[in-house]
Amino acid sequence: MLQVRNGAGETLGVLFDRYQAPLLNFYCKLTGDRGLSEDLVQEVFLRILRHRQTYRAGTPFRAWIYQIARNARIDHFRKTRPQVPFEPEMAPAVNPADPAQQQQESELLHRAMMQLPEEKRELLILCRFQELRYDEVARLVGCGVATVKVRIHRALHELREAFHQLQAAPSDSLQRGSPQNFPPRRLGHEV
């Protein structure tokens, strides 16, 4: 990153290759919208170019890039409109005929994740999928480490409740759409 800061744009290509997939998954799991997620990933790297001078040597790059990623998303929704609350019909389809129970569980879990409030979903994604440590997440979201742990604990309990409710839901509510809709392309941010 220091090379990028000092003007070596080619090095940013290396960072793009390394971080585009984690960032894409961060946004996809958070928003459920692949197209928007791709746009936001591009926005993150554009911001790195624009604000590279603000990067300080010694700062963990991973934490810095996620800070930019969070800000890019917040700015996006500020510019467009508030996020549409999750509706069951936005959920990815489950194919009950699919013999792979694991796949069905995974799809239910995705739906349960999308039912969580965004702050809790984001916290789970950062800690579980982006493999950030609690202290890194605490600095990112601007709270104490203990608070992050409490919120993770609560988020998991809430996720479990949502997951149970979906498992207990009548099967006809799980039959909408087709399996190839998963993962969802667009869930809540129609322009």
Binding site: G13, K29, Q102, C127, F129
Partner: protein, 265 residues
């Protein structure tokens, strides 16, 4: 140990950040508590959520941005010299410098005038002053849009954002920038600036329709398409359809155009 006590350690256990003896305490609790075991299982199950793979088009799009940035940077390095006293005087003699000086003097004059003639000042005088200031700002914007350096042209575009309503000359310069500026960044900035005035100056939309058919940069094309969707203009669909017919259209742009048409219909 009770669930409440375990709850303090459980998040660290999930991230494998506990000492071995602490982990053992958790595991003993888990062996006897279905509730906590389920939470741990759910955490592990999260790993089964599928990962999205980036598309090759994402890298192409990024390369286009990087290329535009590098071109702009090379241009800046070749045209911009280190500031020296001589350069400052050169700049003050340049059209941009002259306009900036005039603007500063006008502001100073306005301030002094208001201080000295406070009793005589009227709303008409103030309105005239505002109008003159706006004209000067638009002149600065026009001058900067003509500069060779991309960063200066970007600054010129940002000057136009300070106006509530664009002067026809500035509007025309912005339209020209959107269509023909060699820098992608400057074209994108021009689109952003124009879009702010679309509600009051409907002719802005026509310039976006025209630019849509002429642009070659996928990045700008996608931005234009998104803008049309945001406006929900009744004519947008036919322009997008025309774009779709272009034989050498970038697949990502075609996909975005398809999406936009479906949104507008």
């Amino acid at each position: 140990m009770k669930c409440e006590q375990i709850a303090e350690l459980l998040p660290d256990y999930l991230q494998e950040a506990l000492r071995p003896e602490q982990s053992k305490i958790i595991e003993q609790h888990l062996a006897a508590c279905a509730d906590c075991t389920e939470v741990v299982a759910l955490w592990k199950k999260l790993a089964t959520l599928p990962d999205e793979q980036p598309s090759p088009a994402a890298r192409e799009r990024f390369d286009a941005v990087l290329h535009a940035w590098q071109s702009g940077r090379a241009e800046n390095l070749s045209t911009e010299k280190r500031p020296s006293l001589g350069n400052i005087f050169d700049w003050l003699r340049s059209p941009v410098g002259a306009v900036a000086w005039s603007l500063a003097l006008l502001a100073l004059g306005a301030f002094v005038g208001l201080q000295l003639g406070a009793t005589k000042s009227s709303s008409q005088d103030l309105a005239a002053m505002h109008s003159e200031l706006a004209a000067m700002r638009q002149l600065v914007a026009l001058s900067m849009l003509q500069q060779e350096s991309a960063s200066q042209r970007l600054e010129g575009v940002s000057w136009t954002r300070r106006e509530d309503r664009l002067d026809p000359q500035v509007l025309s310069a912005l339209k020209h920038t959107l269509r023909y500026d060699p820098s992608v960044d400057v074209r994108l900035a021009a689109l952003d600036a124009l879009s702010r005035h679309a509600a009051q100056q409907p002719q802005v939309r026509n310039s976006v329709f025209d630019a849509l058919q002429e642009q070659q940069s996928p990045l700008v094309q996608v931005a234009l398409i998104d803008q049309l969707v945001e406006w929900r203009d009744p004519q947008a669909a036919q322009h997008l359809e025309k774009l779709r017919q272009s034989p050498n259209l970038n697949p990502t742009v075609r996909q975005r155009a398809d999406w936009a048409i479906s949104k507008l219909n």
